[in-house]
């Protein structure tokens, strides 16, 4: 028997705000979180911009936690804590056995790895911090969340690059829907703002060139002068809950999660495929039992690379046909950057906020439309008073993994 799944809590740590209200109002106002990189090594880089999170860990954690958890774990726990407080699922001991954690993360404790190698190779250290293994391992975030809330059902880490956390939410949705668990904390986190990380992206020639007049305007999805993505970091976690339980206890219900599409391009390690993306969207629609005309808003993957934006536009046209040009679509990466393993979850939260606010955030920095990207990308100015019942959130990854989520407003 398939059960219904409610989203009953949201949490976010992002370059555009560290709580849901700030994040929501900043995005609607078109405020960019992109700026010059704060680290000293930025002078060595050709690209000196990023979307960094303004985060003081001591506001959230003990000294011991700050020194023994990587930044990515701190982001994940901080976002989970917001979602948990928002939802207040109040699980008893038995219920905690039917509750789990799925977290998406691409790179694990990237800054810890960099510190480790810096100590070893540059400073010839003969020993390293004892908890290094725990700070590097990619599953630490999910495990810390499971420990914090005593959730003893399935606890998995999904690593599919930029689709990681969309996969985490989609797979968690199926766990609840198919009756394995009743509550899931699902989402993702990434904090790979390291010298090595920037150098790696720089060499791959996918990073946006800094806007000569205003660094905060450097990421230009769907624009004719787009030049790539801006590296971001952050985390988002949502509480997924079996619908009857959520209704019974009067939980806040942001939306019902109704569809998930998961495909692989099986083609090229970096170049996206129209077919793979389109199939993921079509599968999500099919699972949701919807037709294309039912979708009121799409949060695009919209990286601002040449290939992604062109192919994603074509894939949307393939799936939505004539209706494609009628749907407001935005790439909020123009503001919060590409948060990698956190992107799917952060943008799913953006999509849920579109339902909550009946408003859609803009794609900023879209002054010179690309003639081949000719859909309604909500350029530059957010739209309020829009009927948003059903939303789609796209995440397409290096490696060829595509993950699409669809959620619907609860009927009053």
């Amino acid at each position: 028997m398939k059960r219904r799944v409610a989203v009953t809590g949201l949490g976010i740590i992002s370059p555009c705000g560290n709580d849901i209200d700030d994040f929501s109002s900043n995005l609607m106002a078109g405020k960019s979180g992109v700026r010059r990189i704060s680290s000293a090594y930025s002078s060595l880089l050709s690209v000196k911009i990023a979307a960094e999170v303004d985060f003081n860990p001591f506001n959230y954690f003990t000294k011991r936690q700050v020194s023994t958890m990587d930044r990515v774990n701190q982001f994940a726990l901080a976002a989970a804590s917001q979602a948990w407080k928002d939802s207040e699922p109040s699980l008893d001991a038995k219920e905690k056995e039917r509750a789990g954690v799925y977290i998406g993360c691409g790179m694990g404790g990237g800054s810890t790895i960099e510190d480790l190698y810096d100590h070893l190779f540059k400073h010839n250290a003969d020993r390293v911090k004892p908890l290094t293994v725990l700070m590097v391992m990619n599953n630490a975030s999910a495990s810390y969340i499971s420990i914090e809330y005593g959730l003893s059902g399935p606890c998995l880490t999904l690593s599919t690059a930029c689709a990681s956390s969309a996969n985490a939410i989609g797979e968690a949705f199926r766990q609840v829907r198919d009756g394995y668990v009743d509550v899931m904390l699902a989402g993702g986190a990434e904090a790979f703002m390291t010298y090595g990380g920037f150098r790696s992206w720089e060499s791959l020639r996918v990073l946006a060139v800094e806007d000569p007049e205003d660094p905060s305007k450097s990421c230009k999805p769907f624009s004719n002068n787009r030049s790539g993505f801006v590296l971001g970091e952050g985390a988002a976690v949502v509480v997924l809950e079996e619908m009857e339980r959520a209704v019974r206890r009067g939980a806040p219900i942001y939306a019902e999660l109704i569809g998930y599409g998961s495909t692989s391009d099986a083609g090229h390690i970096t170049r996206p495929s129209l077919e793979g993306q389109a199939r993921a969207m079509a599968e999500a629609l099919k699972e949701a039992g919807l037709s294309p005309q039912d979708i009121d808003y799409i949060n695009a993957h919209g990286t601002a690379t040449q290939w992604n934006d062109l192919l994603e536009t074509q894939a949307i046209k393939k799936v939505f046909d004539d209706y494609a040009c009628k749907i407001p679509i935005s790439s909020t990466k123009s503001m919060h950057g590409h948060t990698m393993g956190a992107a799917g979850a952060i943008e799913f939260v953006v999509s849920l906020l579109a339902i909550k606010n009946q408003a859609v955030p803009p794609t900023i920095n879209l002054d010179q439309p690309d003639p081949e990207c000719d859909l309604d990308y909500v350029p530059n100015i957010g739209r309020k008073g829009v009927k948003v019942n059903t939303v789609m959130s796209n995440a397409f990854a290096f490696g060829g993994t595509n993950a699409v989520l669809i959620a619907r407003k609860m009927e009053e």
Partner: protein, 86 residues
């Protein structure tokens, strides 16, 4: 010069959120809520603070005084000048 106990206390306060009166010679690590993983982590900081190396299996301590005694023993065994880095 600060005693080993004083320096250990400062180290505790730098790395954990204890109040100063919580950390005394007779305090047990268990009272402080420290498990074996915490102690392994803290040993690294002790090694740095006192410029010593703590061999595996040779740091069986229950109280902070035990820790003081062990540190003093390693300092003398390893012939290290017991001066603070600070």
């Amino acid at each position: 010069m600060a005693t080993t106990l004083e320096r250990l206390k400062q180290l505790f306060l730098a790395h954990y959120d204890y109040k100063v009166e919580q950390v005394t010679a007779t305090t047990t690590l268990e009272n402080l809520g420290l498990d074996s993983l915490d102690i392994i982590d803290f040993m690294f900081d002790i090694e740095n603070e006192f410029n010593i190396r703590i061999p595996d299996q040779e740091f069986r301590v229950r109280t902070i005084q035990d820790m003081v005694d062990a540190v003093d023993r390693f300092i003398s065994e390893q012939n290290i000048e017991s001066s603070s880095h600070h």
